[in-house]
């Protein structure tokens, strides 16, 4: 029998030191970790609760952008009016994770570092070109969100490192985003496929900048760069959307499992990306 210890450090440095110990696991909202603990899929020696670390919880506006504490519960993000106005897609992704109950706990940091290919919080963050601030025994570094997960359950974080916060860039006028996922029920499922689209329009209402990211269609959430480029320069006419869909499907390399077949996932990723693009375009004030 292994008994586990529980630590709740209040500084990032202490947390990094604790996490560098053998058998340490970080605890954020805990909505994945506790399930794994109970099922015996993980048997850590020590659980390091990051919620008391300064800066881990909360949303603040900084240099025109937003800084989101990585352990901030999804429900708090959903209630943040300014964040929801500027980044509705990022907030959609975060607030689609689990039930109301899970929303009271689950965080973007946990969602990212649990490294599920189907994490709902991640594609919109990638499309937003968000970065994360990582703290570790060696100090702080900043890295793009898409560089963290490297495969199912695997991350690029070194021992002792954890994600302290996310940084969202300043938001110009005529910009918005959207995230959609498909699940068999209306709630309470893991995404069969997900797509986040982030658009910036020019003064003429044409797409000046576009980023598309997809989830549950590869070992990690992916930035579909070609798909974004397919949208630039126009007003989401049918040809641009078709090109974007094709580009999305081209990057998909999903598995078939109990949640969906590879063919279905690939096809749906395109449908969702198209629908999300149309929503983001309308939110940004675009008119087709």
């Amino acid at each position: 029998m292994t008994q586990l210890a529980y630590l709740a450090p209040s500084s990032a440095e202490e947390a990094a030191a604790a996490l560098a110990r053998d058998g340490a696991r970080p605890l954020s909202g805990g909505t994945d970790l506790l399930v794994q603990l109970r099922a015996g899929r993980t048997r850590p020696a020590v659980v390091v609760d990051l919620k008391a670390v300064a800066g881990a919880i909360g949303v603040r506006e900084q240099s025109g952008g937003f800084v989101i504490g990585a352990a901030t519960p999804g429900a708090v993000l959903g209630e943040h009016a300014a964040l929801s106005r500027a980044w509705p897609g990022v907030v959609e992704g975060a607030t689609l994770i689990g039930s109301t109950q899970v929303q009271g706990r689950a965080s973007l940091g946990g969602n990212l570092c649990n490294a599920s290919p189907a994490a709902d919080g991640v594609p919109a963050l990638i499309a937003a070109r968000a970065t994360c601030v990582i703290v570790g025994p060696g100090g702080r570094r900043e890295a793009p969100v898409e560089s963290i997960a490297t495969g199912p359950g695997q991350t690029s974080l070194a021992p002792g490192e954890f994600v302290l916060e996310f940084r969202l860039p300043p938001r110009p006028a005529r910009a918005s985003d959207a995230y959609l996922r498909l699940i068999p029920r209306t709630e309470m499922d893991i995404a069969v496929a997900g797509a986040g689209v982030n658009l910036v329009l020019d003064e003429g209402g044409r797409v000046a900048e576009a980023h598309v990211a997809v989830g549950a269609v590869a070992p990690t959430a992916l930035l579909a760069a070609e798909a974004g480029r397919a949208l630039v320069g126009g007003r989401l006419d049918d040809a641009a959307l078709a090109g974007m869909e094709a580009a999305v499907r081209a990057v998909c390399r999903p598995i078939s499992d109990k949640r969906g077949t590879a063919e279905y996932r690939t096809r749906i990723a395109g449908v969702l990306a198209r629908r999300a693009a149309l929503i983001a375009f309308e939110r940004a004030g675009g008119v087709r």
Binding site: M1, L182, P184, R185, E187, V192, K258, R259, Y264
Partner: protein, 762 residues
């Protein structure tokens, strides 16, 4: 919203039956006071845990528990060696019928593990952590055998055979070698070939369903204590504590009188708690350790090791005249039984054509064992599967004939005097009125929106009566205790109290219903078969009538008149001899004087109720399909049911709505998914997708009360099971309407719908 269609009341107006009082156990259940299976603890209790087979089919070569026993804090380890090796024997008991040997082998594997999750050993320890550590220290040596999950594969001559002693029953000649086909059922009438020869139109189809779980939210749980004197106590959550008593006594070789079972509140069962899993293990662990033992299943264990219902294959061929008269039906059912014989294919066969008056038919049913958990009863066991096939085929027939689906069913409907496909002659059935209720509903008359479709399906369930005991005790202030032996799974305390109050003439709040342990009330068959409000309700009414009879006798004594000159009217004893000028005596007044008139006033009734009255349901479902993703949403649902008389209409509506929700889940999302090794891949609520609140619309229930059951004092029929029979086909027929393609395989998941749309060509 719900409505009630009824004819004028046939007898004296009822004051309580038919009203909607707050349930007597309500306050306990909204405050957290109600104690369910896992909420009970005994001093000094140990924690029991089960070691389960990691293989779908394996010979158990050896079990070495020495390292587990050596772990400090471990108080007992048991295996099949701790139970008697029982011979095959069929135990009667309605939905609790079982083969004793199979039951014993299912509770604890002996020699062979027959499914992934099959219990092979159990431990009792002073803590959960130690019990779980002990499980890891039990070394079981398995010889892994080929397994078979698919029901057709299991029937093939080269399939791995689960049981060497299993020779197919029901064939003309006994087969010369064992197989996985346990039994052939057959019902037939008329001349099938002649029937099809006379048909103008024939439809044919093959329909499949997957194994689904009852999905009660409360996992199985119990506490058992084996006394040094050999007397045992069990506290557990089940659909019948007398069933638990019988099964535990037989499995452990005890006298019935040595086992007392106290019913906990039950957190849902739907048929799945009509057998035992943990109780015999907890008793054996308690015997071995000398301490009480508490066992609670995890959700994963519930999925892996307790009974789902069968996956099935339904082949249907229907022949009809061009006016819609069905002249021939050929139905073949193949049901997965799980690891031991006993799928509900017999009931599936008996109900398959029960709504139709067809002169020529053949129904064949095959009961097939597979390396999956032994199926348990699930709400109208077997009927939803066969109804899915038959009702899909009838929908095809309506399309082919260009006929309204309700009119087609009306044309072929059974009515009073029709000889049912399964034998008896129907009387007092309200099926045509139930069809009419849907035809006249606002829902039926409302046009559909884009991408929407509408489906109709009907369903039938027998309902049962059976043995029950009830007692009514009058308190000295004139209040009443109503004692029965049936766990209250969905509000039956309310109906018991209401029927007693109506009979006694007491206000409902003066009646307190109780559910007594096996030593405190007489035998009662379990809560299942939609029998409690009918059968136990009859026992309650008879017990209450004994009380009113006794009250009349007491009044006669006080008045010094002959007993036959006193009647019970409006909750009072009334002297029929006007010349005597006696003021009526209330129950309260008579109770206050009971000591002087002969002592306490109680009545008990024991019955074996017959004539439960079959039930019919007609369902109407609208779906909307997303043509780009294949997602199906149920957007409107109306269910009408022939209920006889609703004692508490809210709880009857609740039964209808709950059955519909389970049926919708079965149709759209729920299924057991197995990997290549025969392991269930989705043994949790995340991936075994039961409907959540946002998946469903309001579910309209229409209670049809035009055909009260003459065998019941207030006209009640069983209501709980019928409503899960039609929804599978109602949903599938609606999807057919929306996309123009028949979906013959459940669940109708988004990828399947999209593939069907592709095949159709956009």
């Amino acid at each position: 919203m719900s409505e009630t269609l009824e004819k004028p009341a046939p007898k004296a107006a009822l004051s309580i039956v038919g009203s909607r009082p707050v349930r007597p156990d309500g306050a306990d259940k909204v405050t957290g006071r109600a104690a369910y299976g896992a909420d009970f603890n005994m001093p000094g209790q140990l924690v029991g845990r089960v070691l389960r087979s990691p293989h779908a089919h394996a010979r158990i070569v050896s079990i070495d528990a020495s390292k587990a026993r050596a772990l400090p804090g471990v108080k007992a380890v048991i295996t099949a060696a701790d139970f008697p090796d029982l011979a095959s024997e069929e135990l009667e008991g309605g939905e609790a019928a079982a083969n004793l040997r199979d039951l014993s082998l299912n509770v604890m594997a002996r020699g062979k593990a027959l499914y992934h999750g099959h219990a092979v050993a159990a431990v009792a320890a002073v803590s959960t952590e130690i019990a779980e550590a002990a499980l890891e220290r039990i070394k079981v040596t398995y010889e892994v055998l080929p397994h078979v999950i698919d029901v057709e594969a299991a029937m093939s001559p080269d399939a791995p055979v689960l049981h060497d002693h299993l020779f197919t029953e029901g064939l003309e000649a006994r087969p010369d070698r064992p197989s996985n086909i346990a039994k052939k059922h057959r019902f037939a009438r008329g001349d099938l070939a002649e029937g099809f020869a006379a048909a103008d139109v024939v439809v044919e189809g093959r329909y499949t369903t997957k194994a689904t779980h009852q999905g009660y939210i409360e996992p199985h749980a119990c506490v058992a204590a084996w006394g040094e004197d050999g007397r045992c106590d069990v506290w557990s959550s089940s659909q019948g504590h007398f069933m638990v008593r019988t099964f535990c006594a037989r499995l452990l070789g005890l006298d019935i009188s040595d086992v007392r079972v106290t019913p906990a509140e039950i957190g849902g069962g739907f048929g799945g708690k009509t057998t035992v899993y943990l109780e015999p293990l907890a008793l054996a662990l308690s015997r071995a350790s000398g301490r009480p033992v508490k066992m609670v299943m995890s959700r994963e264990e519930v999925f892996r090791a307790t009974g789902p219902t069968s996956g099935g294959i339904v082949r249907v061929r229907l022949g009809a005249k061009s006016d819609g008269t069905i002249v021939a039906a050929d139905v073949e059912l193949t049901y997965q039984a799980g690891a031991f014989p006993g799928s509900p294919v017999g009931a599936g066969a008996m109900t398959a054509l029960a709504c139709y008056d067809i002169p020529n038919f053949s129904i064949v049913g095959w009961d097939v064992v597979t390396n999956t958990p032994k199926v348990a009863a699930y709400r109208a066991p077997g009927a939803p599967i066969s109804a899915f096939g038959v009702e899909s085929a009838v929908d095809e027939l309506a399309l082919k004939l260009g006929m309204d689906p309700i009119a087609l069913r009306e044309k072929n409907a059974v009515k009073d005097g029709t000889k049912a496909s399964y034998g008896p002659t129907f009387q007092n059935i309200g099926y045509l009125d139930t069809l009419a209720a849907i035809r006249e509903s606002e829902h039926w008359k409302t046009p559909l929106g884009p991408n929407q479709g509408r489906g109709v399906a009907v369903g039938f369930w027998f309902n049962v009566g059976g043995e029950s005991t009830a007692a009514v005790h009058i308190g000295e202030d004139g209040s009443a205790a109503v004692v029965t032996g049936n766990p209250d799974i969905g509000g039956s305390r309310a109906s018991m109290a209401m029927m007693a109050a109506e009979t006694l003439g007491l206000p409902i709040d003066k009646v307190r219903p109780m559910i007594a342990d096996t030593s405190s009330i007489g035998y009662s068959m379990l809560t299942g078969g939609s029998r409690v409000t009918f059968a136990t309700g009859m026992a309650v009414v008879q017990a209450a009538e004994k009380v009113t009879g006794e009250l009349c006798a007491r009044a006669a004594k006080l008045w010094d008149v002959p007993r036959d000159q006193v009647a019970w009217e409006g909750g009072k004893a009334v002297c029929l001899d006007a010349a005597k000028d006696r003021a009526p005596l209330s129950l309260e007044a008579l109770a206050a004087q009971s000591a002087r008139t002969g002592g306490p006033i109680s009545g008990q009734a024991t019955i074996n109720a017959q004539g439960a009255g079959p039930g019919f349901g007609v369902h109407l479902c609208d779906v909307e399909v997303d043509p780009e993703t294949g997602q199906v949403s149920v957007v409107r649902y109306t269910a009408a049911q022939d209920v006889g008389k609703a004692i508490h209409p809210s709880y009857v509506e609740g039964q209808v709505q709950g059955g519909v929700a389970q049926g919708v889940g079965w149709a759209l999302n729920e299924e057991y998914i197995f990997d290549g090794e025969g392991r269930m891949e989705n043994a949790g609520f995340l991936d075994y997708r039961m409907p959540v609140a946002s998946d469903l619309p309001m579910l309209d229930a229409i209670l049809v009360e035009t055909a009260p059951n003459p065998r019941h004092p207030f006209g009640a029929k069983g209501v709980g099971e019928v409503p899960i029979v039609p929804p599978l086909a109602a949903v599938a027929n609606a999807v057919r309407g929306a996309i123009g393609v028949r979906m013959p395989d459940l669940p109708i998941s988004p990828p399947k719908v999209l593939a069907a749309l592709d095949a159709k060509g956009g």
